[in-house]
């Protein structure tokens, strides 16, 4: 039997940031967050293909992998790991600031996060330049053996894997920087407070995922023997 639970004009309080097709903020935020988690699921599955490729190459060409990975700069990788972890922390603090309606702290923490992301990309830039200069390029472009570097086996595969994995990750960092900038602008407009911060929280989730992937990339590419 149909009863009319609530018609159009019945919401005494319908805040401007609640979209028309939702009934409550709880519903809206819950939906947004579930959507984000599903999106993260797709990101994980996408990267999993690269990890699988890595493991297979490693399984079949262990000597090549060991000889080639020595040419990555451990220090640069470690520095970037630390930088990203700190950025994850500042991002978490930004979300917390939004939860407690502390806009100045929100903005500050977003800036810190952006700064860390920037450092990460600069370090990446130097790493990439060094590789390119030594001819340690992916696949058919690999020419390090003409620059005097003799690596075991088929190192062009290792560098292809290296560039693909870190490249795709780097693209995610860049996208993240764009989103954080946008969130910063919105925060400056005063959009976020304890009643409405799901956009900040979702940005945080995305950013932590980027960190999560790096947590695995770092030991696999730079450290493992």
């Amino acid at each position: 039997m149909s009863t009319t639970s609530h018609g159009s004009g019945q919401h005494e309080e319908y805040p401007p940031y609640l979209a028309h097709h939702f009934d409550t903020m709880g519903q809206q935020a819950g939906a947004a967050k579930l959507g984000m988690w599903l999106f993260l699921a797709t990101e994980i599955l996408m990267f999993s293909g690269l990890f699988l490729a890595y493991f297979i190459i490693r399984y079949f060409y262990p000597d090549m992998m060991l000889s080639a990975h020595e040419f990555l700069q451990k220090e640069a990788g470690a520095l970037n790991t630390v930088v990203l972890l700190i950025s994850s922390y500042t991002m978490a603090m930004a979300v917390r600031a939004a939860q407690t309606s502390n806009t100045p702290s929100l903005k500050r923490n977003l800036l810190w996060t952006l700064l860390c992301a920037g450092i990460f990309m600069v370090v990446k830039y130097f790493e990439y330049s060094a590789k390119i200069e030594h001819g340690m390029l992916p696949g058919r472009f690999y020419e390090a053996h003409y620059h005097g570097y003799e690596l075991v086996g088929l190192p062009h595969i290792f560098f292809a894997v290296y560039f693909t994995m870190t490249g795709l990750h780097g693209v995610h960092v860049l996208v993240g920087m764009g989103i954080i900038t946008w969130i910063y602008i919105r925060a400056s407009r005063g959009d976020f407070h304890s009643g409405n911060y799901i956009a900040v929280e979702n940005t945080g989730l995305y950013w932590h995922l980027v960190d999560l992937i790096w947590i695995f990339l770092f030991p696999l590419l730079y450290l493992v023997r």
């Binding site: 639970s5 609530h6 409550t24 709880g26 519903q27 819950g30 967050k33 993260l40 699921a41 994980i44 599955l45 999993s48 699988l52 399984y59 079949f60 060409y61 451990k74 470690a78 790991t81 972890l85 700190i86 994850s88 922390y89 991002m91 603090m93 917390r96 939860q99 407690t100 030594h134 001819g135 390029l137 696949g139 058919r140 472009f141 690999y142 020419e143 390090a144 053996h145 003409y146 620059h147 005097g148 003799e150 075991v152 086996g153 088929l154 190192p155 062009h156 304890s194 929280e201 945080g204 989730l205 932590h208 947590i215 695995f216 770092f218 030991p219 696999l220 450290l223 493992v224 023997r225």
Partner: protein
């Protein structure tokens, strides 16, 4: 009036209920501390020679770090259980993807040639045959590079054995493999039909073209 509010098909008590959990600042600092310590640990472990254990250990530490990030920074600890389910479920499907694929690659028993693509190259290397690496697959570029680096340019990069070695590349062996191999993937039915889109890539075309399709 009894303006009941429903969310997700269920009645809810308080229409303005908006679940959030604000964790203390201290907790975040502690988590960051733990993450940094674990980072130092992975780096340190990589210097210790653990042999075959090094990969599992590195992955274990990474997994602990990842769980910390998920549980605290991403709030999975206090989140809707369904989001946790989504996350864990995803990992399950990653596991399916990995295990079946690795299982197949591990189980290739090299009864026929096409089952041992990777081993082929290891066998070649073990037999002392120089492998074609990177740019050697693009003969013009390789030749140009060889010429450019002929004059001891290699020194600049710290290796004076560059030239001599480079000669060995581009061996005919590797070339021959590309063809024979690809052919092996072909299907008996392909033979004799002239319509496979062969073009310039004679070697690969007939082999792959007959490969199985789909639904």
């Amino acid at each position: 009036m009894g303006s009941q509010v429903y969310v997700n098909g269920k009645e809810i008590e308080n229409p303005h209920e908006f679940h959030h959990h604000v964790a203390p600042k201290k907790q975040y600092v502690q988590v960051l501390g733990a993450l940094l310590v674990l980072t130092v640990l992975t780096v340190a472990v990589s210097y210790a020679d653990l042999g075959p254990l090094s990969l599992p250990v590195a992955m274990l530490v990474a997994a602990v770090k990842a769980s910390l990030v998920c549980a605290f920074f991403m709030h999975l600890k206090d989140d809707d259980r369904f989001n946790v389910f989504v996350f864990v479920g995803t990992l399950l499907f990653v596991a399916i993807f990995f295990s079946f694929t690795l299982f197949d690659l591990g189980a290739r028993n090299a009864v026929n040639d096409e089952q041992k693509t990777f081993e082929y190259w290891n066998d070649e290397a073990a037999a002392g045959n120089a492998l074609k690496v990177g740019v050697d697959h693009v003969p013009e570029k390789a030749a140009a590079l060889k010429a450019a680096h002929a004059g001891g340019h290699g020194d600049g990069h710290g290796g004076d054995h560059g030239d001599a070695k480079a000669e060995g590349h581009g061996d005919a062996k590797a070339e021959g493999h590309g063809d024979a191999k690809a052919e092996g993937h072909g299907d008996a039915k392909a033979e004799g039909h002239g319509d496979a889109p062969a073009g310039e890539h004679e070697a690969k075309a007939p082999a792959n073209h007959e490969a199985p399709g789909g639904h």
